[in-house]
């Protein structure tokens, strides 16, 4: 089994950072951020870092002043206790202490020694320095295709590494890759045909523009954002009751499709309710932070879990926008990054004054009324007001008919229900406002001094005269001064297109995160994105690059050298997401519903006969009609039981913010795509299309099916192998017609008139195989 994420840190740092310095020769100066800080952070900061409470020997190594006080004499390694204690044979003296369990390598000690020799210079952590647009490298070697600035940065590095690019992938491969990446769906046959036949130089660009304009684009990118927003259709914890919040999901889809500038998208979600005269849409946006879990288990304290939700909102905000793990600082001052516990609660204070409070009814919520119901409601309310006016000052025994009428009207009004609703943020006013206090060890009952709103000092401050409100906090996240947000978002969009971020740890840009593989490129992209926050334009720039358009072919040597394709000497090739795998199969089968937006749906899933603790059954009544075949983004997301087939393909349960999904390769996935009735149904659908529309001969039909799945036409060898499978299966099914009928019709239903069951069953076997090919679940 292969893991494409959560790995390779060591290898990367060495091959991507240090080897380049050695390539430049031994005389190259040690770079603090690149070479020294990771060593100190991994091995020393836990005891000699920002957290004063656990600091040992009363000295710190995370600042130059601290280091010079005790451990370091610049220029003199032999006089520096730092170097001595790293190299001593005396077990009592040796650092790090044996019980800490870490040991520096000879190479690491060498780097630290050289660093001290060179003067022990410190530098602010790279990601905390505002990005400046670097000059685009000039690439003179005509071997490298340079289509835009992205390519110049990539090629400059390839030249340094003595590597070359792959040629552009063939048109079919390219069409499938870019359609999957931009819309989550394969291209339609018409899109493919137009593109392949179009010989003009901007044929590809036309395809890209077409794809970016499709509604499917917003549905696809919403998936990424909903992972970050921890969106689910249930409230979480033990009983995990249903939660109605799909209007927020639709807000995200619509925002991507409208290409809403990312800064506006940010402000609406964090503080839409505080904008002047907020629109309905801006209020719905604030459901972003209402996706935190609500605990309805008997005997739990609402205030405790309200606090848990606020902590989650702080962590999620910093994680999503600034790639900063604040969670550590909830209970103690951060051990690696310069963020104090008090500063954590400064951010907490911005978010601590909304009206929601872990209530089972999720109030406050925003109701949505159908027009006719709303009209009726208004009418009744007017009538009620009139009657009440009439009854004013009358004794209780007077005007009985009017009183009866009033009671009846009230009952009628109460029976009118909104079509749906969405939990929202609402700022508390006046006396209802809460004071924020520091919570010792993160315990909401063990309180310290009052803390007021503020951002950590390591980041740029809020504008001087700005009020300290949630709205200002939101604006600060996307302000031009913020060094992280643009980098983090640019990196995340890059990761979607290329499989791995320029900073591999897309969730962590602090000192414990990895260094970027192409620092200048990242800064270029960050400044570029920040200039207009135009997400579609930004993505277009990525997919227009020659780097993106390369063939994914790889030689054993290159694979060994760069298994994760960080240098992009070939095109991206990674596994598709759970939703893409499902949507693609339904598309090939001709079953996928084009319906967009609206309440979540319940596609078929196996009955487990299990209930959530203290809650209702996990099983559900399958949606009917086209709702059975909607895109994966619309599948009801139940935290206690995420949709099983998607969960097998690494879809998270979304209890908390997920920045990076794993991309595993397991036998349980094989069982899903071979045997899950949803995939069997897709195979049956595809088989029927092959029979009806695929042409005259078995070879024609196989070719049709292959293209429906993989876009490209098959080779002769592939066709003959599929036809052989068809013939072998047909011969077997011919001996057992009952089996054939079952395999061709359960669960899709009776065959169309004139279609032979044995034939259909044999083609279903072929379709099942095609839907399970390696190429099917991978970008090519």
């Amino acid at each position: 089994m292969i893991f494409s994420t959560g790995s390779l840190r060591v290898v990367c740092i060495i091959t991507l950072a240090l080897s380049t310095s050695s390539a430049r020769g031994q005389t190259a100066k040690v770079d603090f951020n690149r070479d020294v800080r990771p060593i100190l952070s991994n091995n020393c900061f836990a005891c000699h870092g920002p957290d004063e409470k656990v600091r040992k020997g009363k000295f710190r190594l995370d600042t130059r002043e601290g280091a010079l006080e005790v451990a370091v004499v610049p220029g003199k390694p032999e006089a520096s206790s730092l170097v001595k204690r790293l190299t001593t044979k005396d077990a009592e003296e040796a650092m790090p202490p044996a019980k800490f369990g870490k040991k520096l390598t000879a190479r690491e000690i060498e780097i630290l020694t050289q660093w001290v020799k060179e003067g022990a210079d410190y530098a602010t952590h790279w990601a905390y320095v505002k990005p400046v647009k670097p000059a685009v490298p000039e690439v003179k070697d005509a071997k490298y295709a340079i289509r835009n600035a992205v390519d110049a940065f990539i090629a400059a590095r390839l030249i340094k590494e003595k590597l070359t690019q792959q040629p552009e992938a063939d048109k079919y491969t390219l069409a499938r890759r870019v359609a999957l990446d931009l819309t989550g769906l394969p291209p339609t046959p018409e899109e493919v045909e137009t593109f392949v036949k179009d010989a003009s130089p901007d044929a590809y660009e036309k395809l890209v523009d077409k794809l970016l304009a499709k509604t499917a684009y917003g549905e696809h990118f919403a998936r990424l954002w909903l992972d970050l927003a921890r969106y689910a259709d249930s409230a979480g914890y033990a009983d995990d009751p249903a939660r109605t919040i799909w209007k927020y999901r639709d807000y995200v889809i619509n925002s991507f499709n409208a290409n809403k500038p990312f800064d506006q998208f940010t402000i609406e979600q964090i503080a839409g309710d505080l904008l002047p005269k907020p629109t309905l849409e801006q209020q719905i946006a604030t459901a972003f932070h209402r996706n935190t879990m609500t605990n309805s288990e008997g005997g739990t304290s609402d205030e405790e879990f309200r606090n848990v939700a606020i902590v989650d909102r702080v962590n999620t905000t910093y994680m999503v926008w600034m790639g900063t793990s604040m969670a550590c600082a909830q209970c103690h001052t951060h051990k690696y990054d310069p963020i104090t516990q008090k500063e954590f609660f400064g951010s907490f204070a911005f978010l601590n004054n909304t009206a929601d409070a872990d209530r089972p009814d999720e109030s406050p919520t925003l109701p949505f009324w159908a027009d006719e119901v709303l009209a009726k409601k208004k009418g009744i309310e007017a009538e009620i007001a009139g009657l009440e006016e009439k009854l004013k000052g009358k004794k209780p025994d007077e005007m009985k008919p009017e009183r009866d009428k009033l009671a009846a009207l009230k009952k009628e009004a109460a029976a009118l229900k909104p079509t749906t609703s969405v939990p929202i943020m609402k700022e508390l006013e006046g006396a209802a406002r809460r004071k924020t206090r520091l919570q010792f060890r993160g315990n909401f009952m063990d309180l310290g001094d009052e803390v007021t709103e503020g951002v950590p000092a390591v980041f740029p401050p809020l504008p001087k005269d700005a009020p300290k409100t949630r709205l200002e906090f939101a604006k600060w996240l996307v302000s031009a001064e913020n060094p992280l947000t643009a980098r983090v978002i640019a990196n995340r969009l890059w990761e979607q297109m290329f499989g791995t971020g320029i900073v591999r740890t897309s969730e962590e840009f602090g000192t414990q995160g990895e260094l970027p593989s192409h620092p200048e490129l990242l800064d270029f992209l960050a400044v570029d994105l920040q200039s207009d926050w135009n997400v579609k334009r930004f993505l277009k720039q990525l997919v227009m690059s020659a780097a993106y358009r390369q063939s994914a072919k790889v030689t054993p040597d290159l694979f060994e050298r760069d298994p994760e394709n960080r240098l992009l000497a070939r095109g991206p090739r990674v596994r598709l997401s759970a939703e893409m795998i499902r949507d693609q199969a339904l598309t090939a089968a001709g079953l996928l519903s084009p319906k967009t937006l609206g309440p979540s749906v319940k596609p078929p899933q196996p009955n487990l006969g299990v209930s959530a603790a203290f809650g209702g059954s996990i099983d559900w009544q399958t949606s009917t009609g086209e709702d059975k075949f909607r895109r994966g983004i619309y599948t009801q997301w139940r935290r206690s039981n995420p949709y099983p087939s998607m969960s097998t393909f690494d879809a998270p349960n979304r209890d908390t913010c997920i920045v990076r999904r794993a991309r595993t390769n397991t036998p349980l996935q094989a069982l899903v795509s071979m045997n899950d009735p949803v995939y069997v149904e897709a195979a049956q659908g595809l088989a029927r299309r092959m029979i009806e529309k695929g042409g005259a001969t078995p070879a024609d039909k196989a070719t049709f099916g292959f293209k429906a799945c993989l876009v490209r036409p098959p080779t002769e060898g592939e066709v003959s192998r599929l036809v052989k499978l068809y013939e072998d299966s047909k011969a077997k099914f011919a001996k057992d017609a009952a089996k054939a009928t079952q395999f061709a019709t359960n669960p899709l239903g009776p065959l169309p008139k004139g279609v032979d069951a044995v034939d259909a069953a044999a083609w279903t076997v072929v379709a099942n195989v095609m839907l399970n090919l390696d190429e099917m679940v991978m970008k090519r």
Partner: protein, 482 residues
């Protein structure tokens, strides 16, 4: 890092484990040794068996979780003083600054109504509510000084299984497979069995992989219906037909591999073959009707039922087939006293008898097969129950107790744990640990120790930090080890 090792890791794509060796070390090298010793398995299989930090006393774990938390004062922790003061107002000193789930004001002390006696040569105290366990008293260790930090089900279960009271971290079973791999090439390494149709409060987080690769998460198997989701071929497709399809798939994937040169294609071919084998072996191992009637009767198991007894027998069959970690959840231990089944008198005797028949049978069965010596069995809940009557039900006829985190009991057997041993004490009335406290993190450290791990060194790096099951805590409880 040794560049050869880096290269090797890149080639074998086993680097996800290598990454952890940057942290607290040890694992990557020992794992490579294990590979050399075990060439039966595909080198790309992350569940291939690996050697731990040092030779462990347990090779596998069966964890029997009693969801809801058993009333330990009526089962394993006999408190005659509490019986003496039964019905008296709870002393103020025990209530000050405390929060309880369903009790406020001053509750009444509640002495046990269950007869208690010492059992076996070791003289372990057990009540008559768990009579079947009396027979195995000399095979087990009872800890009477457990402590947790949480008094609601979900957070307490998550703390127990993931070391953290909120969702999102890897579970004990996931850590175990991450460290040791699994001996079975045809079954998942970590299997979860849920009895009586109700999930535990902590939900799937109790067997999740957190930020470890999802291949280490528990696979829920069922004693009723299809044992693993989507295991059966679709209706109308037989094994021969599946084989035909897989052969074609392999040929086509090999064309793809030749053209693009991506090793992951090779892995995918292998995974489909493993799935094909698993279809057969999982069906076989989950079929308890293959057991002799004598064995079925000893557990109280009946083929086709979804009971705890069936699942105990399945647990034995699974570990016998090489599964590394089996987690059971049995619903129905939340003895608040809200209905007669939750009465600590008859209700408890009924629940205790039927449950512990299967537990005792499992211990004896493992012992007969000479597997108890290296199989660690744990039995217990997520916390204990109060020495006083629960507030809400105090006016009724049914006797119940509230949730209690400060002191409770737990039982372990096999896998290097002392046989016939009692560890720790509660104070006279059972409110606090009197001697030798064992915190949840200490239990975790001890289980990992039995498996051969230094709990401070079995780590993974996530969001820039090395994480481990015991967070920054945990001390191995040496006194209960052989």
């Amino acid at each position: 890092m040794n560049p050869n090792l880096a290269r090797l890791q890149a080639i074998t794509r086993r680097n996800f484990l290598g990454a952890s060796s940057l942290g607290l070390g040890g694992l990557a090298l020992s794992q490579l040794d294990a590979n050399a010793a075990d060439n039966q398995r595909d080198k790309d299989d992350p569940l291939a068996p690996r050697k731990p930090h040092f030779p462990g006393t347990a090779k596998r774990v069966i964890y029997l979780h009693m969801s809801g938390a058993p009333p330990h004062l009526d089962l394993l922790d006999y408190k005659p003083e509490l019986v003496k003061h039964d019905g008296e107002a709870c002393p103020d000193e025990y209530l000050k600054g405390k929060r309880f789930a369903f009790t406020s004001g001053v509750p009444k002390l509640l002495g046990t109504k269950q007869p208690f006696k010492q059992h076996g040569k070791s003289g372990i105290w057990m009540s008559d509510a768990i009579k079947p366990l009396h027979d195995v008293a000399d095979d087990v260790t009872v800890i009477r000084s457990m402590k947790t930090d949480e008094f609601n089900h979900a957070p307490a279960e998550l703390l127990l299984y993931t070391g953290f009271a909120r969702q999102g971290r890897p579970s004990l079973g996931a850590w175990t497979c991450y460290g040791l791999g699994s001996e079975s090439a045809n079954l998942p390494g970590f299997v979860v069995l849920i009895s009586n149709g109700v999930q535990p409060s902590g939900g799937q987080g109790c067997w999740g992989s957190g930020f470890l690769p999802s291949v280490f998460q528990g696979v829920q198997c069922r004693s009723k219906g299809e044992p693993v989701l989507y295991l059966s071929d679709p209706p109308g497709m037989d094994r021969d037909m599946r084989r035909l399809g897989l052969d074609a798939m392999k040929d086509l994937n090999e064309i793809q591999e030749k053209e693009l040169g991506h090793p992951e294609t090779r892995t995918r071919i292998a995974q489909y073959e493993l799935a094909f084998r698993m279809q057969l072996s999982a069906t076989e191992v989950m079929d308890i009707s293959r057991e002799p009637a004598k064995v079925l009767d000893s557990y109280g198991a009946k083929p086709g039922a979804g009971t705890f007894a069936n699942n105990c027998l399945l647990a034995r069959r699974l570990v016998e087939s090489g599964v590394r970690y089996v987690q059971l959840f049995d619903w129905g231990w939340d003895f608040h006293g809200t209905n007669p089944n939750e009465d600590i008198r008859d209700g408890l005797t009924r629940k205790g008898t039927v449950t512990t028949q299967a537990v005792a049978a499992l211990i004896k069965d493992l012992k007969n097969r000479d597997m108890l010596k290296d199989t660690l069995v744990v039995w217990g809940g997520e916390f204990g129950r109060t020495p006083f009557r629960e507030g809400r039900t105090a006016g009724g006829q049914v006797l119940g107790r509230d949730h209690y985190p400060d002191c409770f009991s737990l039982m372990l057997a096999g896998g290097g744990i002392k046989a016939g041993h009692t560890h720790g004490e509660s104070d006279d009335l059972g409110f606090k640990v009197g001697k030798d406290m064992v915190h949840i993190h200490d239990l975790q450290a001890t289980i990992q120790h039995c498996l051969g791990f230094d709990h401070t060194k079995l780590t993974t790096r996530f969001q820039g930090r090395d994480y481990r099951l015991t967070d920054v805590h945990g001390k191995v409880v040496k006194d209960i080890l052989v």
